[in-house]
């Protein structure tokens, strides 16, 4: 999604001289094309997100359409008061983009996770919150966001996400899109959870191995009921270790034991 964002903001920046891109010292080379075409409308604001958000609000109050881009916690929780006061209370049309939203930067550790941003930004009056499920929605959403006269928060993933929409959906900010028709269950999803939810829709319980049906899954037959009376399912667990393996006790440290005959 990051690459699609860079590509789309470059296009939009070319056609709208009000578009200014502010980055919190990330996106190395990602915005080279934007910088080439509009050098005076790209600002690397350094590792100073609170100031970046206020600067964006000041620009928006002066007739521009700033887009603020950095990793999700730093563009939301790090500078929440600047969003609350400078952006939302002033009704400044700033587009805030959080990349690597949710756990899509899982490997970067908890400092880079964002599990609160949707709830926090939803609580702000005047703020539109939007989470595209793929790059098709991202491009449509970014175009729509820049047409708003009020703040928009857009949380996006990182890269390599599957494309969900095989054609242009009927897209409107605030309106749900039906991805797959069905009969018994309605699954509602948004953003980078969409592929997971679609996969969940592909799973059906064929049978369960107990002798009686489970209260939580009354529709799942037992193996016997499903026509496999002879199947026996045994679950066992154990720990394998090489001979003379040291095994730490719970308290560790001095209580290491050597087992002579494992």
């Amino acid at each position: 999604m990051r690459n699609a964002f860079a590509d789309e903001i470059t296009r939009l920046g070319a056609s709208d001289p009000r578009v200014v891109l502010l980055s919190g010292d990330i996106g190395n080379k990602l915005f080279d094309k934007f910088k080439q075409q509009a050098q005076n409308r790209f600002y690397n604001c350094g590792v100073a997100e609170a100031n970046m958000m206020s600067v964006a609000a000041g620009m928006a109050l002066s007739g521009l359409r700033p887009v603020v881009y950095t990793i999700t916690p730093f563009t939301t929780t790090r500078c929440f008061e600047q969003i609350r006061v400078d952006v939302c209370y002033h009704g400044a049309p700033v587009v805030i983009v959080g990349t690597g939203a949710g756990l899509s930067y899982a490997e970067l550790g908890p400092t880079h996770h964002s599990l609160e941003d949707l709830a926090l930004l939803r609580s702000l009056p005047g703020m539109t919150v939007f989470a595209p499920c793929d790059e098709v929605e991202l491009r449509l959403g970014l175009r729509a966001a820049l047409r708003q006269d009020h703040p928009v928060y857009m949380r996006i993933g990182k890269k390599g996400e599957p494309v969900i929409h095989d054609r242009q959906p009927d897209f409107q900010l605030g309106k749900a899109i039906t991805i797959r028709e069905g009969e018994h269950v309605c699954l509602i999803s948004t953003g980078n959870m969409m592929p997971v939810v679609l996969d969940a829709g592909n799973i059906r319980i064929l049978a369960q191995w107990g002798t009686e049906r489970l209260p939580n899954f009354p529709h799942a037959p037992t193996l016997q009921e499903a026509g496999y009376p002879d199947v026996i399912y045994i679950l066992w667990t154990g720990v394998f270790a090489p001979a003379k393996q040291e095994i730490s006790s719970k308290k560790g440290k001095k209580k290491k034991q050597k087992r002579k005959n494992p």
Partner: protein, 275 residues
């Protein structure tokens, strides 16, 4: 020039008297913080800024941001006297539904206000955004942000100072109301005795130190934004908290204290403003 400065000084005395009266009438605090920046506000609004109160949102107007939002009671009086709205509006100060609270409202609610401030460390960065926007759009307006020395505790103040210098934002000026006090104590005791002007210089700003109650000096320095150096301009204005009234000067109790009717009378007598 001298006659003009004399008129500005007289305006400042009238504004001070009105702020003190208003504090008593509406029982609102921050009196001493307001009094310390009156001269700065008067120099800016009555002499330096290229503004037209009949066109408060004119595209190329100079922007003045009261980043120390707790000086709102001073700004409200200045804007009224400058003609942004009828002075009679101030009769409803502090009432339910009034736009006049202890900090400035959003610009949509009151002509002349450029930013809703009060949470410190916001107004100056907002002003930086406005200054950069002016440059992007080939406008010639200037942005002046008035910050307090207490506000220089805020990290965002220095974040903005760094970016402004890096971007050579020469249409931006910061004036520090350096009254040596913050809400609950001496500024240098709370956050360190390092030279404030030295800090702005170290952050890449063209910095000067002036007497923040010398009207002629205020006008001269504020008019030098931009000053042709290619750098943003920082004016560290040495001020006295509670300036203008002997029993309030440099007494931090007046950060929150409300004057009695007798004290209002005494203050006006000192200011030479009729009761």
């Amino acid at each position: 020039m001298d006659a003009k400065i004399g008129r500005l000084e007289q305006t400042a005395r009238i504004i001070r008297a009105r702020i003190i009266e208003n504090s008593h009438r509406t029982q609102t605090p921050h009196l001493a913080s307001c009094l310390s920046c009156v001269d700065i506000l008067v120099a800016a609004y009555f002499e330096v800024l290229r503004i037209d109160p009949s066109k408060p949102t004119g595209k190329n107007r100079d922007r003045f941001i009261l980043s120390k939002g707790h000086g709102a009671a001073a700004l409200f009086q200045v804007l009224a006297l400058r003609g942004y709205y009828p002075e009679s509006m101030l009769d409803h100060y502090g009432e339910d539904g009034s736009v006049f609270a202890e900090h400035p409202p959003a610009p949509a609610y009151l002509p002349g206000i450029e930013a809703a401030t009060g949470s410190l460390g916001h107004g100056f960065p907002l002003g930086l955004g406005m200054a950069l926007a002016g440059r992007i759009q080939n406008q010639t307006y200037r942005v002046i942000a008035l910050v307090s020395d207490g506000e220089c505790n805020e990290g965002s103040t220095w974040e903005a100072a760094m970016l402004a210098a890096a971007q050579k934002t020469e249409n931006l000026g910061v004036i520090v109301d350096f009254n040596k006090w913050q809400a609950t104590g001496r500024s240098e005791e709370i956050m360190g005795p390092v030279s404030l002007a030295g800090k702005w210089r170290a952050f890449g700003w063209n910095t000067c130190e002036i007497d923040g109650h010398d009207m002629g000096e205020l006008v001269r320095r504020l008019q030098q934004v931009p000053d042709g150096s290619g750098k943003p301009v920082a004016i560290v204005a040495h001020t006295v908290k509670g300036k203008g009234v002997s029993f309030m000067e440099d007494d931090n109790n007046w950060h929150y204290r409300i004057p009695s009717a007798e004290e209002v009378k005494a203050a006006k007598r000192e200011l030479g403003v009729p009761a």
